[in-house]
């Protein structure tokens, strides 16, 4: 085995452990929303994304249209397009079209962050090693949560319901603290989301469209008000 592959594996282990715990909560929630364990695991194995999968659950349970599902996923996961664009300049000559087609499947927030922080260019052996453990952790955690979630006492299951939101807060709050544009964007998005929950009329808009509208409006407001700050975000 190549040294670069082993190094990738090593860098992927902490990501995989984090994914294991968060996907446990996802698996539990998916089964609670009426999916089978196998269906929950299939979603995790083919999507490999936290926010998109969480948002998909109420849409599936509520029988949303495929167009709403596609638009919701597009908005929530649009950030990956930026990460792929940025990472594209960091790949060395071993990353031909086939390798790019394989690796792009696993370009998550955390894998992107680790890959971009490597000195110099990165190649296929390192990236294949890096994507392996997080993918296993994400799929395995979903299986465990879906299969064993119902065996846990109610108070443990209730407490785990907040896990995913804890992770979201850990992603958005540190940059919101350091960076005024990010703080502005988060506050606008939260204010809009509250309007769509509590104002009569607005609260009849379905969950997928609420995320799309809040996400696009708040990000556009941020880009209009703070157009030059994108490197800091």
């Amino acid at each position: 085995m190549r040294a670069a592959f082993r190094q990738g594996i090593r860098h992927g282990i902490p990501i995989g452990l984090g994914y294991l715990s968060v996907s446990f909560a996802f698996g539990m929630k998916a089964v609670g929303d009426g999916l089978t364990v196998l269906q929950a695991v299939l979603i995790s194995m083919t999507n490999l994304t936290s926010a998109g999968q969480i948002a998909a659950l109420p849409l599936m349970a509520g029988g949303a249209s495929l167009a709403e599902m596609a638009l919701t996923q597009l908005t929530i996961n649009l950030r990956y397009a930026l990460m792929s664009l940025s990472l594209s300049r960091k790949l060395d000559g071993s990353m031909g079209t086939l390798q790019r087609l394989i690796f792009s499947f696993a370009n998550t927030d955390e894998i992107f962050a680790v890959a971009s922080s490597q000195p110099g260019k990165v190649g296929k052996h390192y990236l294949y090693g890096l994507m392996l453990t997080p993918w296993i952790g994400w799929s395995l955690g979903t299986f465990l949560g879906g299969a064993a979630g119902t065996l846990l006492p109610v108070f443990v299951r209730t407490a785990l319901g907040i896990a995913i939101y804890g992770m979201f807060l850990a992603i958005i709050l540190p940059p919101a603290r350091e960076n005024r544009p990010v703080r502005f964007v988060v506050l606008v998005a939260v204010a809009l989301s509250l309007c769509f929950r509590y104002i009569p009329g607005l609260n009849s808009v379905s969950s997928g469209f609420v995320i799309i509208i809040c996400g696009v409006l708040a990000a556009a407001a941020g880009a209009w008000r703070f157009p030059a700050e994108e490197d800091a975000a």
Binding site: V22, Y80, L85, F105, G166, G215
Partner: protein
Amino acid sequence: MKWTVFLPYLAVTAGVTYLIRMLPLTVFRREIKSRFIRSFLAYIPYAVLGAMTFPDVFYSTGDLRTAVCGVAVAVLLAWRGRSLLTVAVAACCAVALAQGFLLLIP
């Protein structure tokens, strides 16, 4: 869920997510010139995650009081820059403790 209902959803979520990641890595390798578009894309994750977290997090435990305890702990630790795992586990523990405490008071 019935497989005939589930499989189209699976194909759409996986397909859209993959295309978003794959196209910029393979087809469009040029830089985005517009400063507005670049900052818009950079702000999208924070906007989406903010809107997904609030107010849903307050309903995530089935009891507003325990959820508020979990949010308070999560916000405090996340604000201090603790890792994803630490914040998620601490929020769960805070909710569990709050549930135990509520059992003690009538």
